[in-house]
């Protein structure tokens, strides 16, 4: 918390001027390649390229699967974040480490792991096949792959918000006779809604960009499993213009999503890491109490 208190608005920052130069270089590293790609766009052909049947199908599939994955992330991620932030049980730290693992795993590793779980010969896949459920090569496989990589974004984001919000309001509600279910519904969730929203948006963005796990686990078939990143990867083989045009579409969607998530209500909710969030997301009156 100390670091947060030092960063009150209008305070002396003390950043040496050369830091700005290096920071500018860092910014350029991200912006310059994007600018170079925009410069490569064949504008005359842009509309036909991005509205071709295969492109629209891929974009539609990407949006649908990402929405489904985000929903699944919320359903599974909110309880996980609650358990991690509020609960107390042996192996909690271990659980947190495992939940965060997809953040740092190469997506292709995630794909291989999913394959050996839900694939035909996999751990669960064999039983599922007996039940008549086949996941491999289906849109469900895409959603699973996306959820796998996107879940940590929601969990980390929400856990940070939960910790920042503290448990005092909940304690008060409980002393007034509210049952745990009521507290969760009426106090906790409304309190952390901004964090949940930004976590969901980040999960959506991550799902939209998912490539490696999908390619390894779900395959690539137009309208079924070929999402926009896979379509770009394939178009690049024959039609560089189409690949660039589609990349720009994906960049535009991503920029919109990030812009939406950072334009939080009143305060900018920080990135996916809870520790950063603590410094900004606490309402001022709460900070004085702490």
């Amino acid at each position: 918390m100390k670091a947060g208190q030092r960063r009150s608005p209008g305070a002396y920052t003390g950043i040496p001027s050369w830091i700005y130069v290096v920071a500018a270089a860092g910014g350029l590293l991200v912006v310059l390649p994007l600018a170079a790609m925009v410069a490569k766009v064949n504008w005359a052909q842009f509309i036909p390229l991005v509205t071709s049947e295969s492109s629209l199908t891929a974009l539609g599939l990407s949006l649908r699967t990402s929405a489904a994955s985000t929903l699944l992330c919320i359903v599974l991620g909110v309880p996980l974040a609650l358990v991690l932030a509020r609960g107390s049980f042996p192996g909690q730290r271990l659980l947190r480490s495992f939940v965060l693992l997809p953040l740092v795993l190469p997506p292709v590793v995630g794909g291989i792991a999913l394959l050996y779980t839900f694939g035909r010969q996999g751990l669960l896949g064999r039983s599922l096949e007996v039940l008549g459920i086949q996941i491999a090569f289906s849109t469900a496989a895409v959603v699973l792959a996306q959820t796998f990589v996107a879940l940590p974004f929601l969990v980390v984001s929400l856990e940070g918000t939960l910790r920042t919000a503290g448990g005092r309001y909940e304690a008060v509600a409980a002393t007034l006779g509210a049952r745990p279910g009521t507290v969760l519904r009426r106090v906790t969730l409304p309190l952390v809604l901004p964090g949940l929203a930004s976590g969901a948006v980040l999960s959506f963005a991550r799902s939209l960009g998912e490539f490696g796990a999908t390619l390894t686990f779900a395959g690539s078939l137009q309208g079924v499993t070929r999402t926009l990143p896979l379509e770009i990867y394939l178009q690049r083989e024959t039609d560089a213009d189409a690949a660039v045009a589609l990349s720009l579409v994906l960049v535009a969607v991503a920029v919109t999503v990030v812009a939406v998530s950072y334009r939080g209500p009143r305060r900018p909710p920080a990135g996916p890491f809870g520790s950063e969030r603590r410094t900004t997301a606490v309402p001022a009156r709460d900070r004085s109490v702490q």
């Binding site: 694939g119 395959g219 690539s220 690049r236 083989e237």
Partner: protein, 273 residues
């Protein structure tokens, strides 16, 4: 004990040194087409080769280094179109070996090829099935049976184009469950048992060493893939590049390629060695 071990280690080290010294001083093996004439070659050669050439070119590169002490061959394997794009964007390569003539033509049109490309191998499609052939596939027509999960390459990549012409030739319309962007992805789906069958190259079946079974089919003969190799205009060691190409196109290279399941190049453009 430790003392004895040390002595053995020292002995081993000494003999290795001796062997290295002897082979370093000795002239290259006789009857070596690549090294004859100019025995003193040196430098680093960067070879960009199609992913399907990984096993053979790794072996041939080691052979090249053995025959030409002082040279180092650096290999980069990827999809042919990826490599062609990298080269046209200025990647420092000396030799390019493509899995199709189209990507070689792309570089040739852009004047990035030094001299003439040489066709050095061919490859045909085979049906790959998981070990045990669970779906009992025996012909190309079997792939169209309902319920059979077939994986092919997308038509944008060479193996997919070959699969399409095989389909036309057989008059069978496939309903693949996935159209992958590389033949390695197709093979992976078959090896893992996710797919009942996949269309891959004969060399992929051989390279999978028993993890998949290969079923040749006659229609594949109409969709033969030709592999060209060429030195690049941007190469700083064109003589070394030419020597490597001679090794690949020469009898030793051809034997290594044939062992891996590649077919002989089309006769009319075969280089006079």
């Amino acid at each position: 004990m430790t003392f004895r071990r040390l002595r053995i280690a020292a002995l081993l080290a000494a003999s290795t040194l001796l062997a290295a010294a002897v082979s370093g001083c000795a002239p290259g093996p006789s009857g070596n087409p690549a090294a004859s004439g100019t025995p003193q070659r040196s430098g680093t050669l960067t070879v960009f080769a199609a992913a399907s050439l990984k096993a053979t070119f790794t072996r041939l590169a080691a052979e090249f280094e053995n025959r030409n002490p002082g040279t180092t061959v650096t290999l980069s394997f990827a999809g042919s179109s990826d490599l062609a794009t990298q080269i046209s964007q200025g990647a420092p390569a000396d030799v390019f070996a493509s899995a199709d003539t189209r990507n070689m033509a792309r570089l040739s049109d852009a004047a990035l090829i030094h001299g003439q490309a040489v066709n050095f191998a061919t490859n045909v499609l085979e049906i790959a099935v998981p070990a045990g052939n669970p779906a009992s596939i025996s012909s190309f027509a079997d792939l169209a049976r309902p319920g059979v999960k077939v994986v092919v390459c997308a038509s944008q990549v060479p193996c997919g184009a070959a699969a399409e012409s095989a389909e036309r030739e057989a008059g069978t319309v496939l309903k693949p469950v996935s159209e992958e962007s590389s033949v390695a992805d197709v093979l992976g789906k078959v090896v893992s048992g996710e797919a009942d069958a996949g269309l891959v190259y004969a060399t992929d079946v051989k390279g999978a060493r028993g993890k998949v079974e290969g079923i040749p089919f006659p229609e594949a003969g109409k969709a033969v893939t030709t592999y060209p190799i060429a030195a690049l205009e941007g190469s700083r060691n064109k003589e070394l590049a030419a020597a490597f190409i001679s090794l690949v196109a020469g009898s030793d290279g051809q034997k290594t390629l044939a062992d891996a399941g590649f077919g002989a190049p089309p006769a009319e453009v075969r280089p006079s060695q």
